[in-house]
Subunit: 236 residues, 2 copies
Amino acid sequence: VKPKIECCFSPALLDLYDFKNSIVVVIDVFRATSTIAAAMSNGAQKIIPVDDVQKCIQLGSEIENSITAGERNGVIAEGLAMGNSPSVFSPEIIENKTLVLTTTNGTRLLHMCRDSKEIVSASFLNLSATVQYLREQKQDVLLACASWKNRFNLEDSLFAGAVYKELKDEFEMDCDSVRAAYDLYKNAEGKLYEYIQDSAHFNRLSKLGLQADMEYCCSIDKHDVLIRFDGEALIS
Amino acid sequence: VKPKIECCFSPALLDLYDFKNSIVVVIDVFRATSTIAAAMSNGAQKIIPVDDVQKCIQLGSEIENSITAGERNGVIAEGLAMGNSPSVFSPEIIENKTLVLTTTNGTRLLHMCRDSKEIVSASFLNLSATVQYLREQKQDVLLACASWKNRFNLEDSLFAGAVYKELKDEFEMDCDSVRAAYDLYKNAEGKLYEYIQDSAHFNRLSKLGLQADMEYCCSIDKHDVLIRFDGEALIS
């Protein structure tokens, strides 16, 4: 019997899914899980996701050799060292450090999925590493889109479709969200950044001048790293 | 300024949308809003949607010249006269009658949208009549998918995409759900019934032998009727 794969388009729909025995893939393409992939690939020791700026500052002051990062409304949150652009976490900045990262949609979703068998953090930047791991585990998978304030978004759904495309022969699927995500991805494949330019998140973030960030997030397999959540921190 | 068009993929996401001043298009392709279009087009005086079988039986006994209808788990609910197949509501059966119809997903959604400016009930069977009305009103529109037990489904989303395709030049849109629905509909257009055969609802209903029903529901513009909800009943 093949394991099952499903997709949840919004954290507000998460309670419709029974993921106790599943690997949950947390997806927040713009930009939490992209930033996490970049930072981890460039040598971060671990990444502690927190929902709150004050908690981020406090943990940053308590943990030796740490960096704080996070944005609110597209700018570095007051009191934090770095923003949420994946491209800025170069090895020079992040190697062997603990990144304390505050994000809104992504962090909340990580904590909502605590009761799963396992959580991995994924984005286009580490697509293949994620897919390879899921293939080997042979466990049920839930692709969980962080969405934007609980609203369906294109970029996370497209990533879910990209994962399914790679795994479809090895998983059972009877989930319209997966079907839709896969169909959308087939439309976007090979021109992801172009395709995503007609999306709500692109419109919001490009007003903040973050086009280069989004183009970076659309690079496939730039960072060959599998990222798991150990209950407190993201580790590779 | 053009009016705005948005789409909500699940009743569980409805509270993310401000539809107080919008026309809400309730969509339950398999099969409530398809059955409603067929019955109304074939002469029903009005259709009273209720969520509960007992309430359906009671109203049926109170209202003169009425017919009760509804299914549970794909068979006619005990105590009701008719099922939920759009094709059975011929003029001989329904003309000048009040249909008391119990459905689950569709009825619940109708009542959830009560605070909107207006509610219309739509399906592929009355696509053009619905589109024409929305075009004339020049009001904000929310395309509200009944979904299946709150899960995203393909058929309702495809219909949302079909509506947007017709209205896109006359409405402002910055909603990824609309974008996705429209993209999916472009993939399915011209081969809707074939496309929908790979969907969760098709799988469920075809096990009950309801393929002909679903093919009927995929007919575009079979019933040229606009259907509005007056707060108690659906009327044309």
